[in-house]
């Protein structure tokens, strides 16, 4: 039977139109806790808006579990990591080219403490850090300060700092601020500049490699149009 040309055209039209209208669902997780995770949720909401062909969902998971699941392909991506470190273990993750946020590990201390600029200056002091903050913990351990206390939560660390059980506490900058705010502790400050500042990138599972350019484009646009700064500032105001 000879198929007429116009029927074939109609058939192909339906196929392509269906493909054009179908959404790609992406489930992106993070190992960060609030308030950073809240900032990421807001960023990815904006990305989702700007990438109509995508439907991005977001979830907070334990840090390692988030990486593992994304690397396994259970989830579609992780937000956000330092690619150089991560890709050595999680080879299925590839980064987006443009970063919109940097990881800052700051030293917190009471206001009367001398500001420090690098980890080696911590050596004569009693230093605390939090499990899960691997970079900070590893750096502290490398320094081998007079006392090292690795606690489970930032709140623990700030309470110890408040009671002078430690001299310096090393944790993420936003997390530290959040915990101080939550504990309503007075007289503790974040020493500026941070001891470490590393740009972070959205990591997608390799199966979504084709989405990298689109993500680059959207993030770059959000940087350029000030959306990212806006959202970051809103975060800071909440702390």
């Amino acid at each position: 039977m000879k198929i007429k040309p116009y029927i074939s055209i109609i058939f192909l039209f339906f196929i392509f139109s269906f493909q054009a209208t179908a959404e790609t669902k992406l489930h992106i997780t993070t190992g960060f806790t609030p308030p950073v995770s809240d900032f990421y949720r807001n960023i990815l909401k904006e990305v989702d808006k700007r990438m109509p062909e995508l439907s991005i969902s977001f979830e907070v998971l334990p840090a390692e579990r988030s990486l593992i699941l994304s690397n396994q392909g259970v989830n579609d991506g992780e937000c956000c990591r330092i690619p150089l470190i991560i890709t050595r273990q999680y080879k299925n993750l590839i980064p987006v080219n443009h970063s919109f946020f940097s990881a800052r590990f700051s030293a917190f201390a009471k206001k009367n403490r001398k500001p420090i600029e690098k980890f080696s200056e911590l050596k004569p002091y009693s230093v605390g850090s939090v499990e899960g903050w691997k970079i900070a913990v590893n750096k502290v351990k490398e320094v081998e300060p007079a006392e090292t206390h690795i606690v489970t939560t930032p709140e623990q660390m700030f309470q110890m700092l408040d009671k002078d059980r430690i001299d310096y506490g090393i944790v993420g900058y936003l997390s530290g601020l959040k915990s101080i705010s939550n504990l309503k502790i007075k007289g503790i400050r974040a020493i500026d500049p941070p001891l470490i500042e590393k740009p972070l990138y959205i990591m997608l599972h390799i199966k979504h490699k084709n989405l990298i350019p689109e993500f680059n484009k959207v993030i770059l646009n959000m940087k350029n149009d000030g959306t990212i700064n806006l959202l970051y500032n809103q975060l800071l105001k909440s702390l």
Binding site: P62, E64, R65, I68, L69, Q72, V74, E131
Partner: protein, 758 residues
């Protein structure tokens, strides 16, 4: 204790121990198996408990990758009993945390998959491995085994000891007593009943021991009774065997037993004696050589008793006669009774033949024929004798009247002196006397008692007879004598012997037709073996032999048996009475003597008289005692009662006695005579009575007379009676006995003697 160590007790204990041990082992094994399963279940429950208690927290820690928390939890788990090792591996099977160490192979490994539902899917997080040791379980099992075995060993020991004691008390000691009792049992002795020393409860309890005791007692009694019966049977068997042997050996006939192959297996002594063979000579042989004619073996022996070898033949057991041959070659006629020997079951064991030597029987049969002839002859002579006796009685009565009245006539005629009448009456009297002599000869033949025997020297008697005989022998006949003067004396009535010789010589004379020789021989034959021609008796032993031999015409053989019958005569009519030889027969046999006749036609006859020699120790007769001396005297008016049914005789006696001055009362009825005598017994001095009368016989009447007057003299007279003679008359009380016809003078003499002696 020694008894407790009895074999059966040991065996019982061993069995109890073995059985108990086996049961213990089996139960222990079952117990261990159950404990082991329970232990495993417990361990599994422990693992499950760990799973329920710790899995969620480990999952959560694993989800959050909180390794320290996992380690803490694992350390806690490893301190749980039986848990020796736990670890958690991640999704890449990399160990995240572990606690404890594996130091045994007896472990149970349980791997628990740790996963979390994430976004609607089970997400594998890792694996919790829990290893529990079974060492504790094994140790518990070992402890359990030890406890069970020790407790069971103690229990087994106690139970065995208890059973041993109970068994000894209830069984073993009784068994020993039964054994001791059984040891004492003797088959030949009646045993005392076995009684066990049991408690009152068990004594009357109907249990196995009681059954055993009852059985042993019954068995003992049965054995004893059986043994006794067996002994009795053996004795009876031995007696039977002895009896059989005795019977077998004592059988006077020859007995031979052959087996199924017709071979001789047993002989009795009579056989050996009869045939002259020893048993060894005949053992295993057939009886063929015993037959005088070998074909008789097949005809009588083999075919009769060996049916299988002759199709169609049958075993015949009837008696057969055949001739047999002894070892020395002599033969004899034999009567054989044969038969098959069968056991009660019917199986054939052989054959028996009883052989009787019939030589004597054949001879005896011949003798029997002679005896039969003798019997017939005796019966014939006896019947003739009885007939003759009956006739003689009547004749005597008649002659008594003739002679009596002729005697009275003679007395009366003497008054008239008429010689003619005297001669007539004398002729009547002579004829009557000849008739009386004839009757006397007839009675001599028929009477069973001899006359008056006395010792007789036969040579003398023969000489007298020859002297008397010679005138009666014609000159043409030569009379010879061959007398052995030394022959023993014989016991004979000399008158009758005289008559015998005279009769035989007269017969010899009459047998010689013209001329010839008459020879009288007398000898003593010490070895007589012959048969009496007249009575057919078989004669053996010593006899005085008197032979009257003539060369006359001889006697026909068919007449030999009848010449001694009365009135048998070969002489012409009127030449002989026919009583000669019958008188000779009667006289001789009443003197235990016999006669043998040998005769050949035309050659002559010989009459051999065989007289037993006199034995002085058995007989002592005196000839002089019997001589009569008759004296006639006056009757002196003695009253005589005469009883005779023949009125003529009674009247004659009355006439005779009245003539001689006797008073006579006569009657022809013996009953009337008794009445007369009863009326006046003292009126009568003497009674003369006949024997043979109607109503009451003479003897019956005399008995009644004697009841009235025992001492009344009675003269009993009889013409002929077998029941009465002188001895019997005297025995019953009579004064004397007279034979009819009684001479008047004899009666008168007798009356005179009796009355004069009264």
């Amino acid at each position: 204790m020694k008894r407790l160590k009895s074999k059966i007790s040991r065996i019982l204990v061993i069995y109890i121990v073995l059985f108990s041990s086996a049961i213990t082992l089996i139960l222990t094994a079952i117990q261990l198996n159950l404990d082991y399963k329970n232990g495993l279940t417990f361990l599994q429950q422990r693992i499950n408990q760990i799973k329920l208690t710790n899995t969620d927290s480990i999952k959560q820690a694993l989800w959050t990758l909180d390794n320290s928390s996992i380690q803490i939890q694992l350390d806690g788990m490893s301190r749980i009993n039986d848990v020796i090792f736990v670890n958690v591996t991640d999704q890449n099977n990399q160990v995240i945390a572990q606690s404890g160490k594996i130091n045994t192979k007896n472990i149970i490994t349980s791997k628990i998959t740790l996963s979390k539902e994430y976004r609607g899917k089970d997400t594998f997080l890792g694996t919790l491995t829990v290893i529990v040791t079974k060492e504790n379980l094994y140790q518990q099992l070992i402890d359990t085994v030890i406890v069970i075995l020790i407790s069971q060993a103690i229990k087994t020991f106690l139970v065995s000891l208890f059973v041993l004691i109970i068994f000894y008390y209830l069984v073993t000691r009784h068994l020993e007593k039964i054994a001791r009792h059984s040891d004492k049992l003797e088959i030949s002795t009646k045993a005392e009943p076995l009684v066990l020393n049991r408690t009152r409860f068990h004594k009357y309890h109907d249990d196995e021991l009681k059954h055993v005791v009852d059985s042993i007692n019954r068995m003992s009694n049965n054995i004893y009774e059986s043994y006794s019966k067996m002994i009795d049977n053996q004795i009876e068997l031995a007696e039977r065997e002895a009896k059989f042997s005795a019977i077998f050996d004592s059988i006077s006939d020859a007995v031979v037993i052959v087996d199924n192959n017709m071979q001789i297996v047993q002989l009795n002594p009579a056989f050996i004696e009869q045939f002259g063979y020893t048993f060894d000579e005949l053992k295993g042989q057939t009886t063929r050589l015993l037959f005088a004619h070998p074909e008789d073996y097949t005809r009588h022996g083999k075919n009769r008793y060996e049916p299988d070898t002759q199709p169609g033949s049958r075993a015949v057991t009837s008696i057969y006669n055949t001739d047999y041959r002894r070892k020395d070659g002599s033969t004899f006629p034999g009567e054989t009774l044969g038969g098959a020997i069968k056991l009660t079951a019917g199986s054939l064991r052989g054959y028996i033949a009883i052989i009787r030597d019939t030589t004597e029987r054949v001879k005896a049969k011949n003798e029997e024929q002679l005896l039969q002839q003798q019997l017939q002859q005796s019966q014939k002579l006896e019947s003739i004798g009885q007939l003759t006796g009956g006739i003689a009685h009547d004749f005597n009565n008649i002659l008594a009247s003739i002679l009596g009245y002729s005697e009275l006539t003679m007395m009366q005629l003497s008054k008239y002196n008429d010689k003619d009448l005297d001669n007539y009456v004398e002729q009547i009297q002579l004829a009557g006397e000849r008739a009386r002599d004839l009757v006397a000869q007839m009675l001599s033949f028929s009477r069973s008692t001899p006359g008056e025997p006395q010792q007789v020297k036969l040579p003398e008697l023969i000489h007298e007879v020859v002297t008397l005989l010679r005138p009666a022998i014609p000159s043409s006949i030569k009379l010879l004598t061959e007398i052995d003067e030394k022959v023993p004396m014989v016991l004979m009535d000399i008158t009758q012997m005289h008559q015998v010789i005279m009769n035989l010589c007269i017969n010899a004379r009459d047998a010689i037709v013209n001329d010839g020789t008459l020879t009288i021989k007398l000898s003593y034959d010490k070895n007589v073996d012959s048969i009496c021609t007249s009575c057919k008796d078989i004669l053996h032993g010593e006899f005085v032999k008197l032979t009257i031999q003539d060369t006359g015409s001889g006697i026909k053989p068919e007449l030999t048996d009848s010449i001694f019958e009365p009135f048998m005569s070969t002489k012409g009519v009127g030449k002989g009475t026919g009583m000669g030889l019958s008188v000779v027969h009667g006289i001789l046999h009443k003197h235990h003597s016999h006669i043998i006749v040998e005769s050949e036609i035309n050659l002559g006859s010989s009459f051999h008289i065989l007289i037993p020699p006199f034995n002085a120790s058995t007989e002592n007769n005196k000839p002089d005692d019997i001589k009569e001396k008759i004296t006639v005297d006056d009757g002196k008016q003695k009253n005589i009662l005469v009883v005779d049914d023949e009125e003529s005789i009674a009247v004659f006696l009355k006439s005779l006695l009245t003539t001689y001055n006797y008073r006579v009362t006569y009657t022809t009825s013996s009953k009337d005579a008794v009445k007369l005598f009863t009326t006046s017994p003292n009126d009568f001095d003497l009674i003369i009575t006949d024997q043979t009368m109607p109503e009451l016989s003479g003897t019956e009447m005399i008995k009644q007379i004697f009841d009235i007057k025992p001492d009344i003299p009675v003269i009993l007279c009889s013409g002929y009676s077998e029941n009465i003679n002188m001895d019997s008359a005297l025995e019953m009380g009579c004064a004397t006995y007279l034979e009819k016809p009684v001479k008047g003078k004899t009666l008168l003499k007798t009356l005179h003697e009796i009355l004069s002696n009264k």
